[in-house]
C-alpha cells in the first residue's frame, strides 16, 4: 500500500481524475459515435459533483480512499503488448473470449470468432447506461460514473432472445502496472434477451508490481426469463486499488447469479447493485474474501426488490489473516409494491489472527407488508473443537485448520459453475488438491 505523503500543492484524486478526462477527451472524441461524448461529459460531471468519497461518507466509512490523493496516477498506456503466454493460465475454456488491455480491445488475445449464432462478443462503447441509471436511483456510484466517462471501450456480450450460449464466455481485463501508478477503467456489459441463457466469466489481471487504480463497471441486463451466471475473479498486486461496481437489472422471471472472489490485492471494493424490476425475478449474489497481510475488501450490496414475488440470496464470507480487513455492508430494500418478497442475506467471517478485523452491517429496509426477509452475520474464530476432532483422526494441526477453512470457503467456491474457474481458485487458495478430489 502507498502511504499518504500529501504536499500542500498536491491535487486531490478527484482533480486528478478530472485532469485525466480533460487529457483524454480529444482522443476519445476522435473515435466517438453519436451522442457518446455528451454521455461521457455528463457522466464526468456527475462524478465531479460527488467526487472521490471522503472520510465522512457513511457509504465509505470502512474504506479509506485518502491514499488515492497521494497517488500520481496516469492513464494506463495504450500501446502495451501482452504475450499470449501471460494470459494463458487465466483462460477458462474454449468458449468465446474478449481481452481488453488497459481498456483497449486486443484482437490478438481475443477469440470471438467461434461465438455461436445469436451470441455476439465485441468491443464497443455502449449507447446508454440505463442499468447503471436504474441501479443508482437509491444511492450513487461515483466510480461507476468515472468508468462510464473514461473507459475507452467496453466488452459487450449480447445473447439474442431464446438463445442458450453453451460455453462460458470470458472477458479478460488486463492492466499493465509500471513504474508510475496507472489508472484503468474496465467496463463489461452483458445483455441477455428474453429467455436467453449465458455464463460470463470476468477476469481481472494486474500485470507487474506497480500501483494501479481500476474503476470498473459491470452491467448485467436480464430480460424476461433470461438466465445469467456471472463469475468474477481478480489477480491483483498488493498496490492495487480495485473499485468495482456490478450493477444488475432483472425483468420478469429472470435469474441472475453473480459471484466475486477476492484473494488479495491492496484495496478492493465491490458495489453490487441489483434491481429486481419484474415479478418473479431471482437473484443470487455471492462473495468470498480470503485475505492476509494488510489486504482490504469491502463488499457493499444493495438489492432492490421493486416487483412482487422476487427472490434474492446474498451469501458473503471472509477468511481474514494478518492485519487484513473484511467489510460487509448489505442492504435489501423492498419497495411498497414488492409483496411476497423472499430475501435472505448472510455474512460469515472467520478471523485467523488477532490483528484482522471484520465489519458487518446487514440491513433490511422494508416498505411492503407481506414479505419474508432474514439476515444474519457471524464473526468468529476457527472452531477449536473441530480442530481437535480432526487432529484426533490423525490430521496434523496445520492440515486440520486448512481443511476447516477449505470447508468454510467451499460453500462459496463450490457454487462457481465454471469448473476451470473453481479449480483455479481452489488450487490458488489451498494448493494442489490430493487426488484431485474436492473438499465437498
Amino acid at each position: 500500500m502507498t502511504t499518504a505523503t500529501t504536499s500542500p500543492s498536491a491535487a486531490t484524486a478527484t482533480d486528478r481524475f478530472a485532469a485525466l478526462y480533460e487529457g483524454a477527451r480529444a482522443a476519445l472524441a476522435g473515435s466517438a459515435r453519436d451522442g457518446e461524448m455528451a454521455r461521457r461529459d455528463a457522466a464526468m460531471a456527475r462524478f465531479r459533483e460527488m467526487g472521490v468519497p471522503r472520510r465522512g461518507d457513511e457509504e465509505w466509512k470502512y474504506t479509506n480512499l485518502a491514499g488515492l490523493d497521494a497517488l500520481p496516477f496516469e492513464l494506463a498506456g495504450a500501446a502495451r503488448v501482452v504475450a499470449p503466454e501471460a494470459v494463458e493460465p487465466a483462460l477458462v475454456g474454449a468458449g468465446p473470449r474478449i481481452v481488453l488491455v488497459n481498456g483497449r480491445f486486443d484482437e490478438r488475445l481475443s477469440d470471438a470468432t467461434e461465438a455461436p449464432a445469436g451470441v455476439t462478443v465485441e468491443a464497443h462503447v455502449p449507447a446508454d447506461a440505463s442499468v447503471l441509471d436504474r441501479c443508482t436511483d437509491l444511492a450513487p456510484l461515483p466510480f461507476a460514473r468515472l468508468c462510464e466517462a473514461l473507459a475507452p471501450t467496453a466488452a459487450v456480450v449480447r445473447v439474442a432472445p431464446g438463445v442458450e450460449a453453451a460455453e462460458p464466455i470470458q472477458a479478460v481485463f488486463i492492466t499493465t502496472a509500471g513504474d508510475a501508478p496507472v489508472a484503468a477503467f474496465p467496463r463489461l456489459r452483458v445483455e441477455a434477451g428474453a429467455g436467453a441463457s449465458v455464463t460470463v466469466v470476468e477476469t481481472h489481471l494486474v500485470m507487474g508490481a506497480g500501483a494501479t487504480v481500476a474503476a470498473s463497471l459491470t452491467e448485467i441486463d436480464a430480460a424476461d426469463g433470461a438466465r445469467v451466471v456471472h463469475e468474477c475473479t481478480a489477480d491483483l498486486n498488493e498496490s492495487s486499488w480495485r473499485l468495482a461496481a456490478i450493477v444488475i437489472r432483472q425483468a420478469r422471471s429472470s435469474r441472475v447469479e453473480s459471484a466475486a472472489v477476492a484473494t488479495g490485492g491492496g484495496v478492493t471494493r465491490h458495489d453490487f447493485r441489483a434491481s429486481l424490476d419484474g415479478p418473479g425475478a431471482d437473484c443470487a449474489l455471492r462473495g468470498l474474501a480470503m485475505l492476509s497481510r494488510d489486504e482490504h475488501v469491502d463488499n457493499h450490496l444493495l438489492v432492490r426488490h421493486a416487483a412482487p414475488e422476487c427472490t434474492s440470496r446474498e451469501f458473503f464470507k471472509n477468511v481474514l489473516d494478518g492485519s487484513s480487513r473484511g467489510v460487509f455492508c448489505g442492504r435489501i430494500h423492498v419497495d411498497q409494491d414488492a409483496q411476497k418478497t423472499d430475501g435472505v442475506q448472510t455474512n460469515a467471517t472467520i478471523l485467523l489472527s488477532d490483528d484482522a478485523e471484520a465489519q458487518s452491517r446487514p440491513q433490511l429496509e422494508i416498505y411492503a407488508d407481506d414479505v419474508k426477509c432474514t439476515h444474519g452475520a457471524t464473526v468468529g474464530q476457527l472452531d477449536e473443537g473441530a480442530v481437535f476432532y480432526l487432529r484426533s483422526r490423525g490430521l496434523p494441526e496445520a492440515r486440520a485448520r486448512a481443511l476447516l477453512i477449505d470447508g468454510f470457503a467451499g460453500e462459496i467456491l463450490d457454487a462457481y459453475t465454471v469448473a476451470a474457474v473453481r479449480d483455479r481458485l481452489k488450487s490458488a487458495l489451498f494448493g494442489p488438491i490430493p487426488g484431485g478430489a474436492g473438499a465437498a
Partner: protein, 252 residues
Amino acid sequence: MPLLEIANLHVSVEGHEILKGVDLTIDTGEVHSIMGPNGSGKSTLAQVIAGHEAYEVTEGSIRFKGRDLLGMGPDERAGEGVFLAFQYPVEIPGVSTNYFLRSAVNAVREYRGQDPLDAGSFMRLVKEKAALVDMNAKLLSRAVNEGFSGGEKKRNEIFQMAMLEPTLAVLDETDSGLDIDALRIVADGVNALRGADRAFLVITHYQRLLNYIVPDHVHVLMDGRIVRSGGKDLALELEESGYGAVEPAAAG
C-alpha cells in the same frame, strides 16, 4: 508391557479438579468398561487420553505401549493407534465425510510409514467398513456429521474407527441416543473389530450396551476416582442396585 497404563491421574479444567487420581491398566486384547453417573469424569478421561488441550493434567502419567502419551499431540496419538469415538461428534461444515476420511486415513498411514491409499483402494476399504456398521453410503458425500441424526453420528464414529484401525479404541457413550437396532449394529461392528491386537475402553452410563459388548473388566468411576473394579457381573449388579449403593471404600 501393558498397552495403556494410567497412574495417579489428576486432571483439572479451568482450575477445577475433575479427575482425582485415576489408575487404570489395559492390556492388548482386553475390553474394559467404565461406568459411572453423569458428571463423574468419564468424558474427561476419554478426552485426556485423546489429547484435548483444555484439560490440564496436574499430576500422574499415561503411558501407551510404554511411551509417554501426554507428551504427544492428538494427531500423533491417532498415528500411534489411539482412537476416541466422541460422545458428541463434531460437525464439520463444507467438508464431505469422504474427503475427510481419506485425509485422515492417509495422514495416519503416513505417520505409520505406509503409502497413501489411491482412490480405488480407498473406495474398496470404505465399502467394506461401511457395511460393517450398515452406514448409509449417501452420508459419505454429505458434510461430516452435518444434519446427521444422533444415531448416524454414532455410527459414523464406529465407521471411522473401523477405517483407522486403532490399537486402543475409547468409546464414549456410543450407546446414548441409539435405539435397540442401532445399538446392536454398533455393537456388532465393535465385536467384529475385537481381537488379540486391539483393546477397547467402553464408557457407558447404562449396563445395556454391555449385553452386546461383553467386557473383561468393569470399573466404576465416581467423583473423579475409580471406586470399584470387577468382572462383567459388576455391571449387572450396578444395574440392579444403582450407583448410590457403590461403596467407595471398596475401591481397587
